[in-house]
Symmetry: C2
Subunit: 102 residues, 2 copies
C-alpha cells in the first residue's frame, strides 16, 4: 500500500524522461541546468543519482547525444529520434490530461 502524504496524492513518477525531452526540445542543456530547471518546476531538485542515470538511459535509447563537452560540463541535445519520441509522448500526454489544466 503506497503511503500517500498528508495532502499529496501521488509522486508523479515516470515523467522524468518526458520532462527532460521537453526541456531539451527547447534548447540544448547540460545536466545541472536541467536539474535546476526541474527544481523550479517541481519544487525539489533531482539529485545527481536521479538526473545522470536518466540522461544515460535516454542517450542509450538514442534520444539525445552529447553536443559539446567543456571540462566536465556536457551539453545534451535531442536527436531526430528523440524529437520524434517527444512529439509522440506529447500527443499522448495532451490526450491523457485533457481538461486538467483549465
Amino acid at each position: 500500500m503506497p503511503r500517500y502524504g498528508d495532502e499529496e496524492c501521488c509522486d508523479m513518477r515516470g515523467m522524468l524522461g518526458f520532462l527532460i525531452l521537453f526541456l531539451l526540445s527547447k534548447k540544448p542543456m547540460h545536466g545541472q541546468e536541467i536539474a535546476d530547471e526541474l527544481a523550479k518546476r517541481r519544487g525539489d531538485k533531482p539529485s545527481p543519482g536521479t538526473i545522470y542515470p536518466a540522461l544515460k538511459s535516454l542517450k542509450y535509447a538514442g534520444f539525445l547525444r552529447e553536443e559539446e563537452k567543456v571540462g566536465k560540463t556536457i551539453t545534451y541535445s535531442l536527436t531526430p529520434r528523440g524529437m520524434k519520441a517527444f512529439h509522440i509522448a506529447k500527443r499522448r500526454f495532451t490526450r491523457t490530461f485533457l481538461g486538467v489544466l483549465s
Copy 2:
C-alpha cells in the same frame, strides 16, 4: 537500465492516482467507469489489478469514499480531503508542465 520502446520515451507512471482524483473531481464514478475513461485517454485500459488497488489506496488515504453501492457496483466520490489533495497536486502539475501544452 529502463528499456525505452522504439518511439516511447516514458511510461508516465505515477499519475494514476492523480488521474483518478481528477476524474472524480468532475463527477462520482465507479471503478469500471474510471477504467473506461482512462482507456479513452491513455489508449490502454488499466486492468482490474491496477484500478482496484489504486482505489483502495486512495480510499485508505481518506481521499475518496464509497458514495453508493448497488450490487457489486461501488460509486466513489471525493472527500473534502481528496479535493484539497487534488487541488494541491493540480497546482504542482500545472507548474511542472508549464509550456508543454501549447
